[in-house]
């Protein structure tokens, strides 16, 4: 009799084990009854209504860029005045404004190794250079910066020019630049340096601002040459000194 009872109990227990109240998988059931769980290592999927497609980084970047571009193009419909001004000196393609000019010649050397910039929401490099830019001897700290605000992305070069010595003409140029900043109501933080050129941007308002600065300073030979030669200087920063040395 006792053996019969034990056998019956064993059958009941085995049946309980073989029929857990939940299954593995995506949200198969609500809260599991206490004390009964699927046996073995289970994979509990994230709920299908929450799960997003898995993408590698290139795919994720492409998807975000496409969404940003679509949003910006929609926004740009309301910025026709800025666009009209921007295209005076920028080429526009698919919502990206690229500075038209690539004039000038820089021959010189880097004074140190190119260094990564740590800018929240951006990136870039800085490099001290000395050399000849067209006919001007310059000693500058150049920064090549990518930055973004919301869905916009821009690329700029910033130069902190050595004001010391007998560079009277350069001093005049920098004063003119300061006046232009005020006249154009520049919103780019001055802390980045003395001169800047946004060479690529998805924001027509920023491109229009750059056009304003160019127009306000075009009578100044140095500033005009600097702005038209921004791509040349950027190439020098971007291609020079590939590694940051960690000691």
């Amino acid at each position: 009799m006792r053996a019969l009872l034990i056998s019956a109990l064993a059958i009941v227990l085995a049946a309980c084990q073989a029929n857990p109240t939940t299954t593995s998988g995506s949200g198969g059931s609500s809260k599991t009854a206490e004390g009964a769980y699927p046996a073995g290592l289970q994979r509990y999927e994230v709920s299908p209504d929450l799960k997003q497609p898995k993408m590698n980084m290139a795919q994720a970047v492409a998807v975000k860029e496409a969404a940003d571009r679509a949003r910006n193009l929609e926004r740009n419909k309301r910025l026709s005045g800025d666009i009209a001004r921007a295209v005076q000196h920028f080429k526009e393609q698919d919502g990206v404004f690229v500075w038209k000019y690539r004039f000038g010649d820089f021959s010189g050397k880097a004074l140190n190794t190119r260094e990564d910039l740590n800018i929240p929401g951006g990136g870039g490099y800085k490099l001290s250079v000395e050399g000849k830019f067209n006919r001007w001897q310059i000693n500058a700290l150049l920064r090549s910066i990518d930055f973004g605000v919301l869905t916009d992305r821009s690329h700029m070069i910033v130069a902190h020019i050595n004001k010391g010595g007998d560079h009277d003409k350069l001093q005049q140029s920098l004063k003119r630049w300061d006046k232009a900043l005020l006249a154009c109501r520049s919103t780019i933080p001055y802390a980045f340096g003395d001169l800047y050129l946004v060479m690529e941007t998805t924001n027509p308002a920023i491109a229009a601002l750059q056009v304003c600065l160019f127009e306000e300073t075009k009578e100044d030979q140095f500033l005009s040459a600097f702005l038209k030669g921004g791509h040349v200087l950027d190439d020098f920063v971007g291609n020079n000194g590939l590694d940051v040395i960690i000691n």
Binding site: E34, G35, L41, Y44, S47, L50, M57
Partner: protein
Amino acid sequence: MKRRDLLKMGAAGLSLASLPGWANIANPERRLVVFFLEGGLDGLSTLVPKLEGRLESFREELMPDNLLDLSSHWALHPAMRSTHQLMLQQDILGIHATSFPYTKRSHFEGQNLIQGGGLTPFSESTGWVGRALDIASNGGRAMSLDTPLLLRGATGVDNYYPAHVNGSSTPTTDLLQRLHGGLSPEWQTENEKLISRLDGRVFNSRDRSPRGLSAEAGQALSRPDGPVAAMIRLNGYDTHAGQGGKRPGRLFSLVGELDSCISTLKKNLGRAWDNTTFITLTEFGRTVKVNGSSGTEHGYGTAMLVGGGAVNGGAVLADWPGLAKSDQFEKRDLMATTDSRSICAAVLEHTFGLEHDEIAERVFFTPNLPRLTDRIFL
């Protein structure tokens, strides 16, 4: 000073291991990051088993509101928003009820064991990552003054601490304020605007906080010739008191910091995220029941996170043991049903292209260690 106080004082740290023979590895572009959570992570409040009906009855005050749902079975702590997003994007896998085979609940023994990967605490003078690197390469030379046990190998690996990381973890606008006096009046106006915009919001990624070190690790690991493995230490997980849950507490900031480290690492790895795997390790879990100080005591089973581009994420893996008193380890802790070493072995197999059997035998000295690689990676 008590040992517990000493643990609280431990600084965050980053160690990076490069590999002179890296070209010999099957997949030289792959990288490994270990987030070492010192103090014993409460897995039950971090990766919350909603499928467990008894949890609230044991620790109602420790259960946060506004959990981040993963499914009807699981949820994440509300401070882990980035982790949650990455789980939904299938880049992070949660694994629950795990532990190294250690049940004594001592920080020092536990931390030594999970770094050494041996069969008993203090039995190994090398770490499991270091031994795997030994097998994967021809060895190299030790360059660091402070190589953590985890990364130590028999022949040594190139190892360095990024000594140039010299910022503060609480950056200020001091420099702008010092410059202020030397500026002309109109520039001072602009400088004031800049200071007011930046004050309290300055983020210097090159700081020695775990988040800053995660940024540093991400940048270093992303370089083609960069180190292959990094260990980032986060401390303070020994939440005996004021752990928080319904009310704010320590765990919120602790797992929030981990969450921030994970998102910062990903951002700084850039495309190298696709080839990087991170795991979280902690010496033990914590008691199921809340203690008298609104905290938890040292326990056994806990939760792990494994993430990266190659991880088959978007799920929680668990052989859930249940929380009935009779199911708890020694009637107080979450039972561990998955050996953490199996997870570590899978990560080593994927990252360094080693055979599982070799890892089981030569790295963890456990030939019959279950293989989970196919359960964790795509």
